[in-house]
C-alpha cells in the first residue's frame, strides 16, 4: 500500500509543483501590478529547456543533475510512504550536495561562488530542519510520519515557534527574498544565476524538475503541522505560501553573512524556547 502511495506521489508531485510555481508567479506579478505569465508557464519553461541543444560545461555535470533529481524523487517517495522524517531529510541532502558538486565542477567564478553560497544556505537551514524534526519527535515520540497522523491534535498548537523556524528553512529552500542568495529566479543578481549558472539546456530542466520535487517535499513537511483535518492542512499551506510570496515582495536580498548570523541566532533561540517548553512537559 505504502508503495502505491509512494509511486503516486512521485508521479504527481511535479505537476502539483508546476501548478504551485505557476500560481506563485501569477500572484507575484499581481502584487507588482502586472498581469503575469499563464498558469502553466513553469511547464513551458521546463519543456523548452528540455528541447534545447545539449550543451554541457563539464562531463560530470549531467550526472550530478540526474542524481539531484533522483534524490529529490526518492525523498518525495519516502515522504508519501510515510517513512522516517530524518531519513527523508538525509536523502534530500544527497541531492543538495550533488547540485553543489555539479556547480563546483566548472571553473567559472560565478558558479563556484554560487556553490559556496549554496553550501552556506545548506549550513543555515539544515540544523533548523533537524531541530524541527527533533521537536516533532519530542511531541509524537517518533520520527515516523504515520505517528504524526496518529496524533489527535495538530502539531502547530504545540510547536508554534518551531513552525516559524521551519518558515526560515522554507524561504531558503524556495529561493525567495531575502534569502535568494545562491541563485535567484530572476537573475538580476551579482552572481548571474549563481549555482545554476553553468547548468544549461536539458541539464537545467532536470535541475528545475528536481526543484519542483523539493518544493513539494518541503511543503509536505509544512503540511505535517496540521494533520487533523484536510481543510486545516490546505488552509495552513495556502497561508504559509502566501506569506512566503509577500515576504519575497517586501524585502531586499540580504548577504549570506547576515543570513547565517540572523537565522541561526533567531532560529536557535526560538526552537530552544519551544523545545524547553516541551521538555518541561508543556502540552496543549
Amino acid at each position: 500500500m505504502t508503495l502505491v502511495y509512494a509511486t503516486l506521489g512521485v508521479i504527481f508531485a511535479p505537476f502539483a509543483g508546476i501548478l504551485i510555481a505557476g500560481l506563485d508567479r501569477i500572484l507575484t506579478a499581481r502584487f507588482q501590478s502586472r498581469t503575469g505569465p499563464p498558469l502553466l508557464q513553469p511547464l513551458y519553461d521546463i519543456g523548452k529547456l528540455w528541447g534545447k541543444e545539449p550543451m554541457i560545461a563539464h562531463r560530470f555535470q549531467p550526472l550530478c543533475a540526474y542524481i539531484y533529481l533522483a534524490a529529490a524523487m526518492v525523498s518525495v517517495g519516502l515522504f508519501f510512504a510515510q517513512s522516517d522524517l530524518l531519513l527523508i531529510f538525509f536523502v534530500q541532502a544527497v541531492g543538495a550536495v550533488f547540485l553543489v558538486i555539479g556547480a563546483f565542477l566548472v571553473p567559472s567564478p560565478f558558479s563556484q561562488a554560487g556553490a559556496n553560497r549554496e553550501l552556506i544556505q545548506i549550513l543555515t537551514y539544515e540544523p533548523l530542519i533537524i531541530i524541527v524534526l527533533a521537536g516533532i519527535h519530542l511531541y509524537t515520540g517518533s520520527f515516523k510520519i504515520s505517528a504524526i497522523y496518529a496524533m489527535d491534535k495538530p502539531l502547530l498548537l504545540n510547536l508554534p515557534l518551531l513552525f516559524i523556524v521551519f518558515g526560515y528553512a522554507l524561504t531558503i529552500k524556495l529561493r525567495k527574498s531575502p534569502f535568494d542568495i545562491s541563485a535567484s529566479h530572476h537573475a538580476h543578481q551579482e552572481l548571474v544565476r549563481g549555482v545554476l549558472t553553468e547548468y544549461s539546456g536539458r541539464t537545467l530542466a532536470i535541475v528545475e524538475i528536481a526543484h519542483l520535487y523539493e518544493t513539494i517535499l518541503i511543503l509536505g513537511l509544512c503540511s505535517l503541522f496540521w494533520t487533523t483535518s484536510v481543510l486545516g492542512m490546505v488552509v495552513l499551506l495556502a497561508l504559509t505560501y502566501l506569506a512566503e510570496i509577500v515576504v519575497d515582495n517586501i524585502s531586499a536580498r540580504m548577504s549570506f553573512r547576515w543570513m547565517l548570523k540572523s537565522v541561526w541566532s533567531t532560529g536557535l533561540v526560538l526552537s530552544a524556547i519551544n523545545l524547553i517548553w516541551l521538555y518541561s512537559g508543556g502540552r496543549i
Binding site: 517513512s83 563546483f104 567564478p109 539544515e126 553553468e198
Partner: protein, 596 residues
C-alpha cells in the same frame, strides 16, 4: 590478521591463560611499566620538556605508591583476556586496516625517503614501530586487566611519539613532544583512576569493575578520570592540539595511529566502561563534551584549507560524535557508536591514504591546489571523492550512525542542538572538497596516472570494504553488536535490510539498491552524445581561449582564480580556538564535578 578473523565466533570469550597467572609475568609487566615511564622521563629530560618530565615522574611516583603501598609489593589476582564483540570488532579493524596501511606504507616510505634524500634508510625503525603499535593495540582491546590496559595504553603513546618525530625535523619534534605530554596527562589520569578503582573495589578485572560499578557513586570520580584519559587519547577538545600536530608524521602514521586505530583506543575505553556509568550525570557530561567536540571541530575544519588538517579536525569531530553516543548511553546510542567506529575507521583510513598519494604527486596539502585534480590523477581523485561521499551521504554507514545518533539524542536538548549544527557543518567542508576535486577543464579528459600497485590496492580495497560494510550494516548489527546486549530488548529490529525501531526506520539495503540503480542510470544518461556541445564557462562574455581565463583590462589575458570560502570571520582557527578550548575545558570540569 588471519588470527583475528579466526577469533570470530569464539566471542564472547573470557580466558585467563596460565601465562597471565604466573607472577613472573605480572612482575615483568610491573618492571616494564617502570621502564616505559623511565623512557618517557628520559625523553622529557633529553628535550628539556619539563611538563613531560613532571608528568612521567608523577606517574612513576603514583605507580610506585600503587605497587608497593597499596599492593604491598604483591599483585592483584590476574584477570587475563576478555573478548566480546566490541573487542573483536576493534581487533578486526586494527588488523585489517592496519595491514592494508602497512602495505601502503611500503611504496610510500620508499618515495618519502627518496624525497627527503636520506643517506641511510630509516624504514626498519619505522616499520618496527608500526608493528609494535599494532601488537600493543590488539592487546589493548583484548586485555581484561586494568594494569595491562594501562601498559598497552602507554606503549601506544610512546609509539605515537616516536612515529610523529620520525622525520626528525624541528617541527616534527615539537609536535611529537606536544603529543607526548598531552598523552602522558591522559596516562596519569588513567593511572589515578585505576588506583582509585582498586582502592574501592580491590580488583583490576575490567568486567568485574563494570558489573560492580553500577550504582556506586563513589566510583564516578575514577570513571570520570578514565573518561578524561579517553578524551586525551581521542584528542577531544581541548586536547585536540596534539592530533593536529601529529599530521607532520608520514601519512601512513596519520592513517593508522591518528585516524583509524590509536585514537579509537580512547573511544574504546569510554565505550567499554559506558555500562558502568549508565544514566549518571557523568554519562550526560560525556555526551555533552563529545557533542561539543563534534560541533566545534567541524566548525574549525571549515576554516581550514590544509587538507590533512581538515582530515584531522574531522577525525576529532567524528570521535566526538562517537563519544557523544557513548555518553547518551542507550543501546541504540552504543550501537551507533560501534558502527561509527567501524565506518569511520575505514573511510578515514581511505581518505588519509589518498591524501598521501595526492600529496606525493602534487607536492602540496592545500585543498586549493587540488582544484581540478581529476585532470591530474583521475583514479585517485575518483576514489577520494567516493570516500568523501561515504562520509556524508546516505545510505553509507557513517550517515546510518549519524541517524542513530540523532534519533537517540532526540531526548537530550543540548546534545541534539550541537549534533544538528555539527552535521550541517560537516556537510559543508566535505562537499566543497569533493566538488573541487572532480572539477577539471570542461572536456574532462585526463592524463593517465601511475601509482604502484601496493599503493593502489589498499585504496581500492578500503573503498570496496567501505561500501560493502555499509551495505551489510544491518547484518553486522544483528550478528555482532546485538549479541552484546543479550538479555535486553533489541534497539533495532532488522527485517530485509531495513533497520527499524519504535521511533524510525532506515532502509539500508533498499536505499543501496536504489542508489546503485540511479548511479548506473545517470552514468548512462549523462554520457555526452555526438551532438552534445562543450562550451566554456560563462565569463560575462569575455572568456579567453584557455578554459577559465578571460580578457581583462587592457586586453590582458587574466586567469579567473576561484577558491572556496573559508569564512575566517566565523570559523577561523585564531578566532575560534581560544573560546572553544576554554568552553571544552569548563565542560570537562563540569563533567567531573557533576560526578562528585
Amino acid at each position: 590478521m588471519a588470527g583475528s578473523v579466526l577469533l570470530i565466533g569464539t566471542a564472547p570469550a573470557s580466558s585467563a591463560p596460565a601465562l597471565f597467572a604466573s607472577s613472573a609475568f605480572t612482575t615483568s609487566i610491573q618492571v616494564a611499566d617502570f621502564a616505559l615511564l623511565g623512557l618517557i622521563l628520559f625523553f622529557g629530560i633529553k628535550f628539556k620538556n619539563w611538563i613531560i618530565a613532571g608528568l612521567s615522574l608523577a606517574q612513576i611516583a603514583l605507580l610506585a605508591f600503587f605497587e608497593f603501598v597499596v599492593l604491598k609489593g604483591g599483585h592483584a589476582e590476574p584477570a587475563g583476556l576478555f573478548c566480546d564483540n566490541l573487542s573483536l570488532i576493534m581487533v578486526l579493524i586494527i588488523s585489517i586496516a592496519g595491514s592494508l596501511i602497512v602495505f601502503y606504507a611500503l611504496p610510500y616510505m620508499e618515495h618519502h625517503e627518496h624525497h627527503l634524500k636520506l643517506k641511510t634508510s630509516r624504514q626498519p625503525r619505522f616499520f618496527a614501530l608500526l608493528f609494535l603499535f599494532i601488537g600493543a593495540m590488539n592487546a589493548l582491546v583484548l586485555v581484561n586487566d586494568l594494569m595491562l590496559f594501562y601498559f598497552c595504553f602507554e606503549i601506544t603513546t610512546l609509539c605515537s611519539f616516536l612515529l610523529i618525530g620520525h622525520d626528525k625535523t624541528r617541527e616534527a619534534r615539537q609536535n611529537a613532544l606536544t603529543a607526548l605530554w598531552i598523552n602522558s596527562l591522559g596516562g596519569l589520569a588513567l593511572l589515578l583512576g585505576i588506583v582509585l578503582i582498586y582502592t574501592q573495589l580491590h580488583t583490576l578485572d575490567i568486567q568485574v569493575v563494570i558489573s560492580q560499578a553500577k550504582g556506586l557513586d563513589a566510583l564516578l570520580i575514577p570513571l570520570g578520570l578514565l573518561c578524561v584519559a579517553g578524551f586525551t587519547k581521542a584528542a577531544q577538545m581541548p586536547f585536540q592540539k596534539w592530533l593536529l600536530g601529529a599530521m607532520v608524521a608520514p601519512t601512513p602514521t596519520s592513517a593508522l595511529l591518528h585516524s583509524s586505530t590509536m585514537v579509537k583506543a580512547g573511544v574504546y575505553l569510554v565505550i567499554r566502561f559506558a555500562p558502568a556509568f549508565e544514566g549518571t550525570p557523568l554519562s550526560a557530561g560525556v555526551a555533552v563534551c563529545g557533542a561539543f567536540t563534534f560541533l566545534s571541530a567541524a566548525a574549525l575544519a571549515i576554516g581550514q584549507s590544509n587538507g590533512k588538517k581538515v582530515l584531522a579536525y574531522s577525525t576529532v569531530s567524528n570521535l566526538g560524535l562517537i563519544l557523544a553516543c557513548a555518553g547518551i548511553n542507550t543501546h541504540a546510542a552504543i550501537t551507533a557508536a560501534i558502527l561509527l567506529v567501524i565506518f569511520h575507521a575505514i573511510s578515514k583510513a581511505l581518505l588519509f591514504l589518498c591524501m598521501g598519494s595526492i600529496e606525493q604527486h602534487i607536492g602540496s596539502r592545500d585543498i586549493e591546489d587540488m582544484r581540478g585534480l581529476f585532470g591530474e590523477m583521475p583514479k585517485t581523485a575518483l576514489i577520494i571523492t567516493l570516500g568523501i561521499l561515504t562520509m556524508i551521504l546516505p545510505p553509507f554507514g557513517m550517515l546510518l550512525g549519524k541517524w542513530m545518533a540523532i534519533e537517540s539524542a532526540a531526548g537530550n536538548l543540548f546534545t541534539l542542538l550541537m549534533l544538528a549544527m555539527g552535521s550541517a557543518l560537516t556537510v559543508v567542508y566535505w562537499a566543497r572538497w569533493a566538488g573541487i576535486l572532480m572539477g577539471s577543464d570542461f572536456k574532462g579528459d585526463s592524463r593517465p596516472e601511475h601509482l604502484p600497485g601496493l599503493a593502489r590496492l589498499p585504496l581500492v580495497s578500503l573503498l570496496v570494504s567501505a561500501v560493502v560494510l555499509s551495505m551489510s550494516a544491518p547484518f553486522i548489527y544483528a550478528k555482532m553488536i546485538l549479541t552484546d546486549f543479550s538479555g535486553t530488548t533489541a534497539a533495532f529490529s532488522v527485517s530485509n535490510g531495513v533497520m527499524a525501531n519504535a521511533s524510525g526506520s532506515f532502509a539500508v539495503i533498499p536505499l543501496f539498491l536504489i542508489a546503485i540503480g540511479v548511479f548506473l542510470f545517470a552514468l548512462a544518461k549523462s554520457k555526452p552524445g555526438r551532438r552534445t556541445r562543450l562550451s566554456g564557462p560563462y565569463m560575462s562574455g569575455i572568456s579567453g581561449q584557455e578554459n577559465g581565463t578571460y580578457i581583462g583590462p587592457m586586453n590582458k589575458i587574466m586567469g579567473s582564480a576561484q577558491s572556496n570560502y573559508y569564512l575566517s570571520g566565523f570559523f577561523g582557527e585564531k578566532k575560534l580556538s581560544g573560546i572553544v578550548n576554554a568552553t571544552a575545558g569548563i565542560l570537562i570540569l563540569i563533567m567531573i564535578g557533576a560526578s562528585i
